[in-house]
Symmetry: D2
Subunit: 426 residues, 4 copies
Amino acid sequence: MVNAMLTEFYRQVRQRSLTLIQGLSAEDTQLQSMPDASPLKWHLAHTSWFFETFVLLAHDPDYQAFDPTFNYLYNSYYNAAGKRHPRAHRGMVSRPSLERIRDYRAHIEDAMLRMLPSIDTKIEDIVQVGLHHEMQHQELMVTDFKHALWLNRYALTQIAAGPATPLDEAVSSLNNWRDYDGGLVLIGHDTSQGYGYDIESPEHQYYLQPFALARSPVTNADFLRFIDDGGYQNPDFWMSEGFELSQQQQWQSPLYWCMRQYLQSSDPNDIQLMTWGGYRRIDLNEPVTHISWYEADAFARWAGARLPTEFEWEHAARQQSVSGHFLEDKLYHPRAIATQAAKSDQLQQLFGDVWEWTQSSYAPYPGFQPAPGALSEYNGKFMINQMVLRGGSCASAQAHIRATYRNFFHPHQRWQFSGLRLAQDR
Amino acid sequence: MVNAMLTEFYRQVRQRSLTLIQGLSAEDTQLQSMPDASPLKWHLAHTSWFFETFVLLAHDPDYQAFDPTFNYLYNSYYNAAGKRHPRAHRGMVSRPSLERIRDYRAHIEDAMLRMLPSIDTKIEDIVQVGLHHEMQHQELMVTDFKHALWLNRYALTQIAAGPATPLDEAVSSLNNWRDYDGGLVLIGHDTSQGYGYDIESPEHQYYLQPFALARSPVTNADFLRFIDDGGYQNPDFWMSEGFELSQQQQWQSPLYWCMRQYLQSSDPNDIQLMTWGGYRRIDLNEPVTHISWYEADAFARWAGARLPTEFEWEHAARQQSVSGHFLEDKLYHPRAIATQAAKSDQLQQLFGDVWEWTQSSYAPYPGFQPAPGALSEYNGKFMINQMVLRGGSCASAQAHIRATYRNFFHPHQRWQFSGLRLAQDR
Amino acid sequence: MVNAMLTEFYRQVRQRSLTLIQGLSAEDTQLQSMPDASPLKWHLAHTSWFFETFVLLAHDPDYQAFDPTFNYLYNSYYNAAGKRHPRAHRGMVSRPSLERIRDYRAHIEDAMLRMLPSIDTKIEDIVQVGLHHEMQHQELMVTDFKHALWLNRYALTQIAAGPATPLDEAVSSLNNWRDYDGGLVLIGHDTSQGYGYDIESPEHQYYLQPFALARSPVTNADFLRFIDDGGYQNPDFWMSEGFELSQQQQWQSPLYWCMRQYLQSSDPNDIQLMTWGGYRRIDLNEPVTHISWYEADAFARWAGARLPTEFEWEHAARQQSVSGHFLEDKLYHPRAIATQAAKSDQLQQLFGDVWEWTQSSYAPYPGFQPAPGALSEYNGKFMINQMVLRGGSCASAQAHIRATYRNFFHPHQRWQFSGLRLAQDR
Amino acid sequence: MVNAMLTEFYRQVRQRSLTLIQGLSAEDTQLQSMPDASPLKWHLAHTSWFFETFVLLAHDPDYQAFDPTFNYLYNSYYNAAGKRHPRAHRGMVSRPSLERIRDYRAHIEDAMLRMLPSIDTKIEDIVQVGLHHEMQHQELMVTDFKHALWLNRYALTQIAAGPATPLDEAVSSLNNWRDYDGGLVLIGHDTSQGYGYDIESPEHQYYLQPFALARSPVTNADFLRFIDDGGYQNPDFWMSEGFELSQQQQWQSPLYWCMRQYLQSSDPNDIQLMTWGGYRRIDLNEPVTHISWYEADAFARWAGARLPTEFEWEHAARQQSVSGHFLEDKLYHPRAIATQAAKSDQLQQLFGDVWEWTQSSYAPYPGFQPAPGALSEYNGKFMINQMVLRGGSCASAQAHIRATYRNFFHPHQRWQFSGLRLAQDR
């Protein structure tokens, strides 16, 4: 990338992190709702620490660290970068204040913008990782804060909303297939073509059996039918440990749904969704989201289908350009699926809107080589007990998304914008 | 109490809660470090909710609630007052903001100060409970925030401090006894004499065997000798479940001590204490504090003594007036014990400085009658698995302390200003 | 005690342990249902280890240990006796076999019976402790095995039983008081008068306020009325942490009751009790048993009464001789309270039948001196978080019971034969 | 299969379960050391319940159930077969006795042997599943009982053993590769060729990149070098959650190793292994076993290699016949690797000895169809969070093993005979 473009890209990405907290209080940025999530303030500091540690301190002999205690406070999980504050206690760091973190960011920006015009390609690569890293954290800022709001949901206001689509008029993703031939296909990122994480490479051949993919992701209407059909109570649809977990935690709907019985509504179809901005009535035409892999897998079995593999998904996605409904739109919920669009020949909403769970576990590709040095810890040490999601969500930055992108989470996790698209053997 | 005096008392107590957060950020007031503790912001709101619920809404027909959701958010544990926000999630309430809680307090002050001049004695009693309740929460504000700082202690600054007393010159509480005859004594609060909680009454006769009390509380110097003698490793000194707990949690000193081996100090006697204001070198002449009942009990056995009963303590305390080192001093740590004072005939530092663990479990006095209505839940429903502490601490308001006051905590809890005074049979 | 009498006492007590497992399989004696309980086989071995360690190895220079690994396997909690097998894994010790434990007992009997005729009073005291220790374990053998059966209760047979008393004809313990004057009374064991544990001494003066005790323990009929009145659902009756626990664990009746709704009985009053021998219909005239302190305390508050202190109980009990329904009767459930007896001037069933929870925590008496040496660990190190029970149960050996006896358990524990007797202030 | 052969196979398999408990006591068969494991007695009953439920009760109208409570007690996890005894409490089922379970088996044998000569192929298929099911449980009988012994290991005797191979003379599996070309290969069980579980099918094409496999499994000598090189302390080799777990649980060696520092041996290389028969000195030439996936994966990274995929393993294994060291040998530990054999062109010990962890998660093959009816629960509902192992162990029945067999366990589990073979990209 030409350095001027990189500089502009740097400005944009860094600015977007600050845009995300506009209108929020210092107290809002302090919240940590669970060990999996982090405070907004921590994300702002950690993403800056990344540039400070791997670019400035490593490659600028004149650079002075902003504050030596920050290496302890804002290292996330890099063993190579030393000891660190316990993850579960990130929400206890009221000091440094949000104001001081803003100063920290300004200090980093200053040093980075001085350095960027003259860096070589090796450092450029690290800057690229840092920016993609920050975009990844921007998505987490949306989902982590949403989860914190959930634990204080009775203080949220209700957003007035017009009448929802009746269930029998809503868009369905069922029985609307696009078939694909099998055969040897190319999977993975070609490192000569733009940015990709280490785990997306090398590009390699993979043999697919014939299959079909649903033209659109599963909608809220589809998922409501699964619920109404007793899907959460019937072990036949579930993986054994998923069913056990759902019973223990009394799952009866996706996370953030507020079901009819808990609302004082006279309308039996009034289901509310919790969002960043408060509650609003569910839109049955939107893709379902905030479900675990267990729920996605159970839904697919109920629907007489299965989850796609990540290879099937990528093969289909390589035929489309990346466009969709991304973080830039500032809505933080998926777009409704247009009825007519669902009939087109193309797959709908492959990118943006929701991450789609696959049946593939997160594992190395043949010939995988981790990034060198401390950055080898970025992705490589999480390759167990996690499932791949593909596509990108309404909280993903568009520049962060591509057909070969591999996201991954544990099968029980629900706080991401995670949904599914059905697949079948052909 | 004459209403004008009550009004002045009301102003003072309420103002002190705000004084406590001077210099702290909104983020600081958001922290909840464990389910036992609460955010400062929550304390500010809950103490106001108490007046709103039990005085204003109950007795002023014209009063308008500030915000109807606050009853859910700021009820602590009164079943009679309805459902409430889960205790463990108090730290998630970033909304309402600190600013709004300040407005809430102003709203309550306004209504209370209008009402106070004309209330009858029944309501006056509830206002008195409310003010003592608030003083109790002021102590918790100090100890809860101190505990939150502990989880972020590496961000705290070091306070420069002069040289400490050498161990062999420090004041000891050992072998400095004052003897008491036994016989029938009076225990408990006489309800015709000033304020007391329901659990301090009725005043009743109690038969004491002859005993002795140490003239001063156990000092840091004494406790350091216990540590150096292997006290934490020797089960002979400990209650069985206390020893098990101390091993599991790897206790090696009181909470908030930073022992020699963790400091890069060349002085082997350099022990640091964490305080609200940062770290400072230990003062060996101060009473030891932040120890559990298990540690207090083990120390006493090591010293060839025992904990006093709450009856022995009260009998001795009734002979003194309440004076000491209280919250009003704004230091939030105990006063050092003066060498010469330790030789006087009087007991030192009975009130203020540190709460003193006793060997008495928290149980009803003969003839105990809980306060009427919802306030019966204030004290009465915690009379199991807790031990009585007597005396008051450097974080107690002076007006809150008296010889009959019974504080109580679980034997494993360490985050209060809890120490001990030795006793022996005679 | 004359040595011949001690020998005979020794024979009887030791034989009774074996009688308890008559008719049980080796597999039955292997069960450990929770860390609080131990396998029958372990009790048989541990009580023998006690004599081996504290009598034979300590005082007979010619004695050869039966098996050196047994000190590791069968030490319960004596730190002074060395390392030990983890308590929670006692149920994993299938080797040594039950047959080998029988041989161990025979080996100990042989050595002990050779030694007993010639021991001095110091060793005699230890033998006495050993026999009382074994009687204590005999009670645990009954309750621990009962609890293990509970976890396999669907394999138990139903015992045919005749019709139970209708609820409105059943004996009630309510409103049937015997009054006591207050004043200075004697409490505790006089060490010159027969056997007593260290914790029962010294005998000392205690000042009582006037009080009343119910003439009989609370019956199943009384407790059923509490249940039917919503007692388990109403927090007003409960200590706060008791209510929380009862909700978490979904307590709706005493342990071992099988309530109407779970039985396919046409009779709405058909409640079944699980016993050693299988299920049988509840006898409403029996004292209620297998309740926690929390339930006993809540029941008392519901009944407009309170639990007695252990001092009130002992004062009343010192006026009666020990007689009742003990382990020797081999029924292992309490005797029904006779209607006419409930009207007599005497308290009913003070000894035997059920342990009665008191409101006294387990704490040292003034002047308490633990037994010397390793036996100081026998009782003294458990004096925290436990409540005193008085009286003895249908699973207690008669020789083990006296008016000064202090039993103690945690307030949440339910697997002992624990009930209550009401008290009131006068 | 011709019915006479099936009858003979039935006799052999069923008999082997009883052979496994020869010499063990009823108490031994009662032990359950953790929820993952089951008592030997339970295995004996459950495998019989399988035939009773899915063959006799389903297909023989004249068959009388041995005991109707057994369906509750011995159903493992089949929702379609009704409610069941909680898994974690299997060790509490002392009744029915071992003797009664023997009678149960005899009752089933009687009915089955009467039925087998005349069954049709549909029932024959179920009988086949039942026999393979029983062989699977036979392996668990060995590993579950071994784990129970571990919790009582100080009662085990030491087996005298001759001197072990010095570390520098021991066989190594490192740097001894056999290369394979990539390309399209066949994976999975051809259902027309002998028995296979549903999850091994369908046979399908898979595209492999060129790779290499080590000629022999990793030996104890190899693993000792990893330990001595600080492998357990270096996070660089580990998956993040594996390292965290290993630190929490203080893993320092494979399960069942007793390291030098805990033995009172003068020989620094004296490492002992716990086995069914007691302790014996480690044989450095044996394959390492009882390691988790996390340890296998970390070892491979330390060795500059990786785990093979299950497809690479199967491709190599299809070129060999099944022969090895199986349950029939009655030793229950892997065979030492012969030095000369390691140099041959063939892979050593692919079958028998140890299960080899792969980097493949347990997932459905393309076109997977679960077995019909209740047996669909046999394998299909566990396809998440588990990793595939290949090959078979010294505790596997030979008739149960084939090149397409897919075993699966969670990555943290260590109590199976699990080891590894290295792979590399080519």
